[in-house]
Assembly symmetry: C2
Homo-oligomer: 467 residues x 2
Amino acid sequence: MKHVTFSGRLVMVGCGSIGQGVLPLILRHIDLAPSRITIVNSDDRGRAVAEAMGVAYRVSPLTRENFREVLAPLLGAGDFLLNLSVDVSSVALIGFCREVGALYLDTCVEPWAGGYTDPSLSASQRSNYGLRESALALADQPGAPTALITHGANPGLVSHFVKQALLNLAADTGLAVSVPTTRAEWGALAQRLSVKVIHIAERDTQLANIPKQRDEFVNTWSVDGFVGEGCQPAELGWGTHETVWPADARRHEFGSGAAIYLERPGASTRVRTWTPLEGPFHGFLITHNESISIADYYTVKEHGTVAYRPTVHYAYHPADDAVLSIHELAGKNWEMQSRTRLMMSEIVSGMDELGVLLMGHERGAYWYGSRLTIEEARVLAPHNNATSLQVTAAVLAGVIWAMENPARGIIEPDGIDHERILEITGPYLGEVVGVYSDWTPLQDRGRLFPEPVNASEPWLFGNFRVT
Amino acid sequence: MKHVTFSGRLVMVGCGSIGQGVLPLILRHIDLAPSRITIVNSDDRGRAVAEAMGVAYRVSPLTRENFREVLAPLLGAGDFLLNLSVDVSSVALIGFCREVGALYLDTCVEPWAGGYTDPSLSASQRSNYGLRESALALADQPGAPTALITHGANPGLVSHFVKQALLNLAADTGLAVSVPTTRAEWGALAQRLSVKVIHIAERDTQLANIPKQRDEFVNTWSVDGFVGEGCQPAELGWGTHETVWPADARRHEFGSGAAIYLERPGASTRVRTWTPLEGPFHGFLITHNESISIADYYTVKEHGTVAYRPTVHYAYHPADDAVLSIHELAGKNWEMQSRTRLMMSEIVSGMDELGVLLMGHERGAYWYGSRLTIEEARVLAPHNNATSLQVTAAVLAGVIWAMENPARGIIEPDGIDHERILEITGPYLGEVVGVYSDWTPLQDRGRLFPEPVNASEPWLFGNFRVT
């Protein structure tokens, strides 16, 4: 079914796993002729898929120097720039779209090439916090063309899961509330429910029948994307219930103050977390925009000081082959493997169990999210695995929302209509469930060895962290 | 070729991967009729292999209560007890062998079932240091029947690699030495060469065409054995060049004092190390008897105080599927997976690169060891993979040495003739090589984030450790 009719042109920058996977969804759900779509990519990887659908494909790597020249003929007022690339600055493209009057969506705030691992930049400058602030700095023109940033699965979809989870939690604890309509109301609801910690808790169990080789990075989605964010500092929204400052934690000297970072890569930072099907496991605290945006969105200020904020971060167990790839990468001091492989047709089983885990409230822990198997994903859409389909469905929904709401300026997932997004993504997410648990990070601790836990407050960050 | 004729009976306790793999080697290299061998095991796993070779097989799990009754009819003066089991106390069997006049060999000092993870024991009591002291306490009868303890690949073979590596290093640095014949002379040689650190540096690259499943522990050798030692405290011989005491380190209150332990499982303790084919990588500091025995053996005392000792520990990268299994096990707070799988016929490629890495001397780092591929292993012996053959060849050599030297009492690998062992094992070790390197644990550190390294002394334990 078509959700919306779009009369402009659509330019897609980048055509890796997400670009290839979202293209059939766009053509299925948006009334837009393939001939009005142009793909601009840095290599030929997506050409066969695009051309088979009648979409123009050109290879033209975008740089600081050439991006205006390449994009100017392709984009004008009422057109759409869908940025699914790596190594192309989101802020530069957003600025360009505003100048020409085009709509915009991306799945993260990306710097130009090398920006994530440039040793001449400080960790704070390389952080998602810094990148987010650089994008939000453009949010000063009400009524400007909509630029929906960071709207993939996570960041993106999970912000809508948080809202739905809060509403479910309110209902299940007998709190009579109407659906909040403002940021202040959402913050008040989270505060009233005493949600102390939110993990984006993800367990990807997809397995391939080709073992990972030495000197190879294997992942179920963009290897470049994952290595880039994995080498950024670990970042987390820092909640008001936290009383112990981590020794390697740093505050930023600018911006919202909602998040902190650790002076180490997220790919070497493990945390305890929980999902309904996996149970307890160790995930990686990879930096993500939602860790900052959710913490910021739900911050409640009273008389100018912060009265409430949840701790928010990612706790990611990627596919097993990616866990091995990270282990190898760390062993080489973050010197990238020479070969990469995106797991797709070789996947033989598994699912992506992706949701939000709200903790510290009256009911303990509550996970709300999507369980999508590889088998379901293959039935639902071509050119996707379970991981990519959770992203591409959310990209699709974000594009539709932006087309339906074309003059909202720069905006994050937390600020938009979660019901509309969940309505569009629903058919592509497999089983969407909410599950309560009595799990805490103190469970089964200290059995064989003394562990420095703080038993008086289970939900402190130090209790989650694996040291 | 037959290395030795043995006129006694041989009882093998346990028949897992090592038992099944060593049996054809024993029959090939020891003049001993299969009818004189009896296998006593806790289950049926090795029955088919044993009976196909004409060896008697009985299922009779040994316990504190029944072991004398089971073994008494099978063992007398001049017989041999080869202990390749788990969950059977080495000290109990050694004591029994001494009483009846039988020879003995094992591949580790094993406690009775549950001894590695008994929460009622202190970490010091559960350590290999403690187990080793309990075995050495029996070493008070000169001329007692030989009981060669801890003689597999490691512990075992690697002690002989250390001696050969020291001799090679002496030759390559122009030090004219004759082969030492006493412990004091070996210690003096290591001291003179300024060997500060010895890693048992192992990278197992064997891969299978069956992916590890959730809730499954997969390994290239005994899963029970690996989980047992992986949950023991991390232990290391503590060298005289170490100036920084690790915050989680503890000394034992008894025994030689050669080693310390960390208050955490070895399976959660990573260290930087290096092998010639892998280059730098992260290995696990799993406790092993050789970490203690080598440090002890090469300790030089002057006027009653320790003047020299190297730091010695294991730095183990098991097969990738075992790395994943450890990651899963840690995520479940060391609650064992419900399924296990020993990788054998499903291995499609890879090798075990197992050696000793001597560091801090004039030439920097020197690795000496075995590179054995799965393809070579399969040609060399049935019922083996690359990992097991390095063990079984060493077990074979130890058994032969004990038969040739039947009245040496309790003895460790460091105390026996390394040339004889390397002569017997040589044909089964693939390529045996020594390689120099300028690698140090400071290489490529601190590029993206500040790291608390001690640049003035590269070879401090704190520089190796991954935190």
